[in-house]
Amino acid sequence: MGDIAIRVEEIGKRYRLGKAEKYKTLRDTLASAFTAPFLKVGRLLRGEAANDTTQDEQIWALREVSFEVRQGEVIGVIGGNGAGKSTLLKILSRITEPTTGFAEIHGRVGSLLEVGTGFHQELTGRENIYLNGAILGMTKKEIDRKFDEIVAFSEVEKFIDTPVKHYSSGMYLRLAFAVAAHLEPEILIVDEVLAVGDAGFQQKCLGKMGAVAKEGRTVLFVSHNMGAITQLCGRAVQLEKGRLTRSGSAGEVVAAYLSSVAGTELKSSWSDESSKPNSSEVQFKSARLLSVDEQPLSITNFNESVLVEIAYEVKIPIRNLSVTCLLYDSMSRLVFESMDTDMSEWNGRVREPDVYRATTKIPPSLLRPGRYQLTFAAFIEGVKVIARLDRVLAFDVSGVGYTLQPKRDGIVSPVLDWTVCRFSEHERMV
């Protein structure tokens, strides 16, 4: 005790935006397959930046962050979406380099930024335990030794020799977490991975984390679960737009954080000028989530619907324009995609320059209780993506009105109409 485990000194991280263009159409790619390599090679030889210079916006995901963690300390990192928490953990795990500053790590680091990293669908549970264990930094001997314990923790003994593609999402998660839970580094770095799975399993995981902490290991722990933070961590730091704004005992930091963000922590509307993607064709104006009585919403009940409203300006006449809305769950799985041209007469028509407002309703009794994020993109079918707003809105679905028996798998939990009748009665009726 008393010795430094992690020292972070004036760490900064700058990202280039517009680089991660995930929506690339085949046509673009094919066209550029012929021209781009030559242009890019030319640029490369001249020593210029390799990416397209047109959209060279930069953001500082972290700015002058300094703090220290002592050995055996369990420290929580809190902050809103995009505050830079994951970036900080990635730097400390050496996944990405800082742009400025430095950090010193005293001891062997094990990091858990996601459960099930490297799991392969085609491999069996047993094979995945070894693969995932090795990826997380365990030696084969270590895995051999802990194998039975891991299998027991995961509760999937019967399916251990079945390819994981046949697992339900719950089993998959339990197995993945079981491997991670048996990591024994001196310093453990954990991102928001406990936010998934059913409540019982989450409790089990938190228990395991607590046990790890009691063994005197250093833990750096990101969570949105303020209960878990106050319960497990002695100290906490808060990040806000990349800067470290608070540091102190976990109870104090959490209390201050909660009162400062009361109600605004989850974005239910977006209209921030600065983060607006610029396009000369389509510009997003605003996006909001509303309850049925048209009130801005950041949390809804399971049995209530959510209104989604997006406004965008079309600057030049465009044919075949669609605005799509993608809903992601807390594990970043795509729940669904829906387009504003799905139903309407706008499909295939030319959009004259104007401001458009598209609204839709996410039906009630569909989304499992948990956190969701929305991404919007404006695109021309089969041609290109014009503008994209990544995860601009977020909301929580509460368990209120959730009458289904709790344990079930699947991305959504629709309440379906079932009719059950006894076969003998059925016979009689016919």
């Binding site: 010795d3 990202y15 280039r16 680089k19 991660a20 690339k24 790619t29 094919l30 550029s32 397959a33 781009a36 390599p37 890019k40 390799a50 990416n51 050995q71 055996g72 990635k90 730097i91 400390l92 795990s93 050496r94 996944i95 990405t96 380099e97 800082p98 742009t99 400025t100 500053g101 430095f102 950090a103 010193e104 790590i105 005293h106 001891g107 062997r108 680091v109 990091s111 930024l113 996601e114 990293t117 490297g118 392969h120 085609e122 491999l123 094979e127 070894y130 693969l131 090795a134 990826i135 997380l136 930094g137 030696t139 084969k140 001196e186 005197g216």
Partner: protein, 276 residues
């Protein structure tokens, strides 16, 4: 807590960085698991499994034998044309497959790269080395053909591991370049089929390099696959003159590609997690 705690300093790196082979060595077990995964997945996914490793070079051999051997009557240094070309196709298939697998390997492992730390070199190395199993399978077919044609190599076969090493160095070197480039320019994978096609004909697979006269023949071996192919033929099939100078030139070229590839890869490595 232990007293000999290792201290890691994390800071921005600038320009060219060292290759850090000792770290790669420390992660050899992960490398082994990645190779094992690639092999397992390959054989689980394809119904034909191991047969696939033979089918590809075998069919190319049949096509080449028909068109180049029979119809165009291309000479084959006095060796029966089918085995002349198959002996070259075995290392060639390893090389070209390694290239196509490795060049997309980093992008394919984006998930790992964004979430876990390990020397990124493991990824293309695993992709290339996992092809050795296919190589071994295709090689048994070559042995069968040698028995059929009654060709026995003699002591020269001792040089075979050296030739295999040359193949590995070449594949790895080119793969490192392509995999790193492919992270930044996703178009790279579109030019790979084109590149391998050109390279195939720039390598004496369908024809003997003896078509060229000397200084040119040795000069030609700047393409390291020339040394590989002639080396394999010499060690196994007993072409008369030892391709010593050619293999030497190829080795130098291959090492140059590998070393430059290692440094280029390491230089770009720090950007992988942000861009991939």
């Amino acid at each position: 807590m232990q007293s000999n705690i290792q201290v890691i300093r994390i800071e921005p790196s600038k320009g060219w960085v060292s290759v850090q082979l000792q770290e790669l060595w420390a992660y050899r077990e992960l490398l082994y698991f990645l190779i094992w995964r690639d092999v397992m997945v390959r054989y689980k996914q394809t119904a034909l499994g191991a047969a696939w490793a033979i089918i590809q070079p075998l069919f190319t051999m049949l096509v080449f034998s028909l068109f180049f051997g029979r119809l165009a009557k291309i000479p084959s240094d006095g060796i029966p044309y089918p085995i002349f070309t198959y002996a070259a196709l075995v290392p060639w298939t390893f090389f070209s497959q390694g290239l196509s697998l490795a060049s997309n390997s980093l992008v394919g492992s984006a998930n790992l790269i964004k979430k876990v730390y390990f020397p990124r070199l493991c990824v293309p190395i695993a992709a290339v080395t996992s092809g050795l199993i296919d190589f071994a399978i295709a090689f048994t077919m070559l042995i069968a053909m040698m028995l059929y044609y009654g060709i026995f190599p003699g002591v020269k076969v001792m040089w075979l591991p050296v030739m295999l090493l040359l193949t590995l160095i070449t594949s790895l070197g080119v793969s490192l370049w392509l995999s790193a480039l492919n992270v930044h320019f996703r178009d790279v994978r579109h030019i790979i089929p084109f590149l391998t096609q050109l390279w195939l004909f720039a390598t004496p697979i369908a024809y003997p390099s003896s078509l060229l006269s000397e200084p040119w023949r040795t000069f030609y071996s700047i393409n390291p696959m020339v040394g590989v192919v002639e080396g394999f033929r010499w060690a196994l099939l007993g072409a008369e003159t030892a391709p010593g100078p050619m293999v030497m030139v190829s080795f130098l070229a291959a090492i140059a590609i590998l070393v430059s590839g290692l440094f280029y890869f390491r230089r770009l490595e720090k950007t992988f997690a942000d861009v991939v």
